[in-house]
């Protein structure tokens, strides 16, 4: 029984101080971590004092160490109060109370070696040395510390418990509960000091848990992200058990080996075999410590942290899979599936940011993440803004997320960054949105750090995939263009060849209308040039090399020129082409050549698809816009084709019309670059069509 109490108190001291050190080294600058450390140290000194007291044989020793642990214990309440206030962010308001608390505690410390504090020794347990007996000052101290300081700490906890919600509320609940358990357990130790005899079983049960409970439960909630504590607890547990086991194994093994093996050969001279055995055992332990640590880690993972994953493992799996993926879909799948599996999430989504996402209701979020590169933990943001945090752009980003099931948002940027815990640089290129954990646990710092690394890897993969898609798209476009060009260009070439062969035969020489044939050849050649120009434009557009020359220009002149040019073709088909506009100049900031090309393209189409009737061109101003309207009585456009009319290679729903189906696509790109609009209207097949171009008027 004696050694049980001795051992337990030693272990308590060990665990408590290790935890304290881990916490303070985790973040030395944080007042919460620092005050927690102080509290743990006081508790550890109490436990160690208790342990050393148990070893004392003389009255002076017993008295000294008895005083020592009482004194150490007297510091616990003020440190606890300080910690609680730090945790609640209430230090400033309670400065005076803290100062008084510290002063009184220090005063007691000064007086602790007087007989008013500890009167003498009293024997309570038969198996344990006599302990300190409380003097009047001790009673005063106890009342002050345990009732006033602790009482105030609890009052603050309760007070804030009802004011807070969600996460914070749960934290406070556990701090109160954990600390309460610890202190109530500690109360048991007051009894002997007043010569009260409590059942021994009470001491046996409470002594090992007092500090453990206090420490683990209370710190578990000191940080928003519970994971810090997970790692700390894990290390503390493993470390303590390793130290404990090694000590036992060392002592036992040394004893056994020395007496059983060496004892026989080296005789009863105890020292030499002891030393030899010690060397041997040290060697064995040195060999065994790493496997032992790993074994314990596995066990702790399995029983304490069922949801735990190995970050390195996850990062490795993801990076291995990403390396072999070039399709965005696959990257999407790998990222979401692996993370959901490892972190045990409700789900995840991966969005590649495209211009088409401009309309999604997450504008503020995207805007914010483009400026501040950080992983957003929605729950944390919620807490902050509940606490009256400044409502800035981050708040707007939070507002975007509030109604979604997103728990964590990991932004992916164009360029990865593997240093300084940065997420990357450049524009936002993707969003990895994680839902909450199935267990309902919070995301830990470890999770966030893992996600940071994954974000960098995703960034590379995404950029590669985009590059790949772009190249694939360029190749496809090229193949398509080559196929269409080589095929479509045959028609006009066949015409030119036919005309040439007619000239060559006697037919035309007889009729003597070579001039007409020459004109036809010229027109047909123009058609070929237009096709080739379109192809060249497309190539420029695709490679991003297109330049605009914006100037203030009179649109009337440009449209008039285009109409003039088209008259020949219209006349030939027997179509009436007329142009109406206003008397005064219609000015816009535009690229002359591009607008001319657009107008010509629309006119060309109108003539091509109209067999009889007219083409009416109108250019007018309306509400600060210049509007070009080209109306024809031609074939019209099917309803389902209208929306995709301006896509590449769309040819009015029919595969075969001369021209490459590139004209409208190019026109749209040109007009978009002018921040204008281009669209078509049609009553349907056979009902003619109207094409519009809208450009902002120059001031």
């Amino acid at each position: 029984m004696y050694s049980y109490f001795l051992g337990i108190n030693f272990l308590n001291g060990l665990v408590v101080s290790i935890l304290g050190f881990f916490v303070v080294f985790k973040n030395r600058r944080n007042i919460i971590n620092r005050t927690f450390f102080l509290m743990q140290i006081a508790a550890a000194l109490w436990a160690f004092g208790f342990f050393i007291w148990g070893l004392q044989k003389t009255e002076t020793g017993l008295l000294f160490w008895g005083r020592f642990f009482c004194l150490a214990a007297s510091f616990i309440p003020i440190f606890y109060l300080h910690w609680i206030l730090a945790l609640l962010g209430k230090i400033r308001e309670n400065k005076i109370i803290l100062v008084i608390g510290y002063l009184v505690t220090l005063l007691i410390a000064f007086l602790s070696y007087s007989p008013f504090y500890i009167k003498g020794l009293v024997k309570i347990f038969s198996f344990y040395p006599p302990g300190p007996l409380a003097g009047p000052l001790y009673s005063l101290t106890t009342i002050f510390e345990y009732f006033i300081l602790l009482g105030y700490a609890y009052f603050q906890l309760f007070f804030n418990y009802f004011k807070s919600t969600g996460y914070r509320r749960a934290q406070i609940k556990y701090v109160t509960l954990g600390a309460g358990l610890g202190f109530i357990g500690g109360m048991v130790y007051f009894a002997p000091m007043y010569n009260l005899h409590l059942p021994i079983i009470l001491y046996i049960l409470t002594s090992p848990f007092v500090i453990l409970y206090t420490s683990i439960y209370t710190y578990a909630i000191t940080k928003y992200r519970l994971m810090d504590i997970r790692l700390i607890i894990k290390r503390t547990v493993i470390f303590s058990v390793v130290v404990f086991l090694i000590t036992i194994v060392y002592v036992l093994a040394t004893f056994l080996i020395s007496s059983l093996i060496f004892g026989k050969y080296l005789g009863a001279d105890g020292l030499k075999p002891m030393l030899l055995a010690g060397v041997l055992v040290s060697f064995l332990i040195a060999l065994g410590i790493r496997p032992l640590y790993e074994f314990l880690e596995k066990i702790t993972d399995r029983y304490f942290f069922k949801g735990e994953y190995q970050p390195q493992e996850l990062i490795r799996t993801i990076s291995e899979k990403l390396i072999t993926s070039l399709e965005i879909n696959k990257i999407q799948k790998i990222l979401t599936e692996e993370i959901v599996k490892a972190m045990k999430l409700e789900g995840a989504n991966f969005f590649v940011l495209e211009t088409s996402m401009k309309d999604l209701p997450i504008k503020n979020l995207i805007h914010y993440l483009n400026q501040q590169k950080e992983i957003l933990v929605v729950q944390e943001m919620k807490l902050q803004y509940q606490d009256g945090f400044k409502k800035d752009e981050r708040y707007l980003a939070y507002k975007d997320l509030e109604q979604t099931p997103a728990a964590v948002v990991v932004p992916i940027y164009e360029k990865p960054e593997f240093e300084n815990h940065k997420l990357g640089s450049g524009e936002l290129s993707g969003l990895l949105i994680l839902k909450g954990k199935k267990s309902g646990d919070a995301f830990t710092n470890q999770d966030i750090q893992t996600l940071e690394i994954i974000a960098s890897q995703a960034s590379i993969a995404l950029e590669n995939a985009k590059m790949y898609e772009k190249i694939k798209h360029l190749l496809e476009t090229k193949t398509q263009i080559i196929s269409i060009v080589s095929h479509q260009i045959k028609n006009p070439l066949a015409i030119i060849k036919g005309l040439a062969s007619l000239i060559n035969s006697d037919i035309y020489q007889e009729k003597n209308n070579l001039k007409e044939v020459a004109l036809k050849i010229k027109q047909t050649t123009d058609k070929i040039f237009m096709m080739i120009n379109n192809v060249l434009d497309i190539q420029k557009i695709e490679s991003g090399a297109l330049q605009y020359d914006f100037k203030k220009i009179d649109l009337r002149k440009i449209v008039e020129e285009a109409v003039e040019k088209s008259q020949v073709l219209a006349k030939e088909k027997g179509l009436k082409l007329d142009f109406k506009t206003e008397n005064k100049g219609i000015f816009a900031i535009a690229d002359e050549i591009k607008i001319y090309q657009c107008a010509l393209n629309l006119l060309d189409n109108a003539i091509k698809f109209t067999d009889k009737g007219f083409i009416k061109v109108k250019l007018f101003t309306q509400d600060g816009w210049a509007i070009l309207e080209i109306e024809d009585t031609g074939r019209g456009i099917k309803k389902d084709v209208l929306p995709k009319l301006f896509n590449k290679f769309e040819r009015g729903g029919e595969e075969v019309l001369s021209g490459f189906g590139l004209g409208l696509y190019i026109a749209k790109i040109f007009i978009d670059a002018h921040q204008g609009e281009i669209w078509a209207e049609s009553g349907g097949e056979g009902k003619g069509s109207k094409f519009f171009i809208k450009l902002k008027l120059a001031e």
Binding site: K490, L502, I507, K520, R635
Partner: protein, 137 residues
């Protein structure tokens, strides 16, 4: 050529008026009677009242393209036996026709084809060859 007692009739089906014109001039000069249509639908309308000796049928056309028109012509008992020469910008159209309608290609794949850029003289030659086969020349 003018001495031919009965002029043979050719139906030209092509959406490109210029190309049609060239062929028309050439073929008229060669002594043929010419009917014109600018797409498949028009061609079928012409065929309702006329039985040309040869049909020159462009493949790439709006409304109803050459292949669909061919299916219609060969699917109709009245017009099944008319001789069709497909005009193609792409190359041999038979592969595509087999892909679109295997049964048709096996049962009544009776048609010829010419590339669009073929010399006009060769087109005339081809028509004459067909007429000879049919015993019309």
């Amino acid at each position: 050529m003018a001495e031919q007692i009965k002029k043979h009739t050719i139906l030209l089906v092509d959406d490109e008026a210029d190309f049609r014109n060239i062929l028309k001039i050439k073929l008229e000069a060669a002594g043929f009677n010419i009917l014109e249509a600018s797409n498949g639908k028009e061609a079928l309308m012409v065929l309702a009242n006329n039985k040309p000796d040869v049909i020159l049928l462009d493949i790439m056309m709006p409304e109803m393209d050459g292949i669909e028109t061919l299916f219609k012509i060969k699917g109709n008992d009245e017009t099944r036996n008319l001789r069709v020469v497909m005009l193609t910008g792409k190359g041999d159209p038979r592969e595509e026709i087999v892909r679109m309608n295997k049964k048709f290609a096996q049962e009544s794949g009776a048609f010829d084809y010419l590339r669009k850029e073929t010399d006009l003289d060769l087109i005339v030659e081809k028509i004459n060859k067909i007429l000879t086969e049919d015993g019309k020349l």
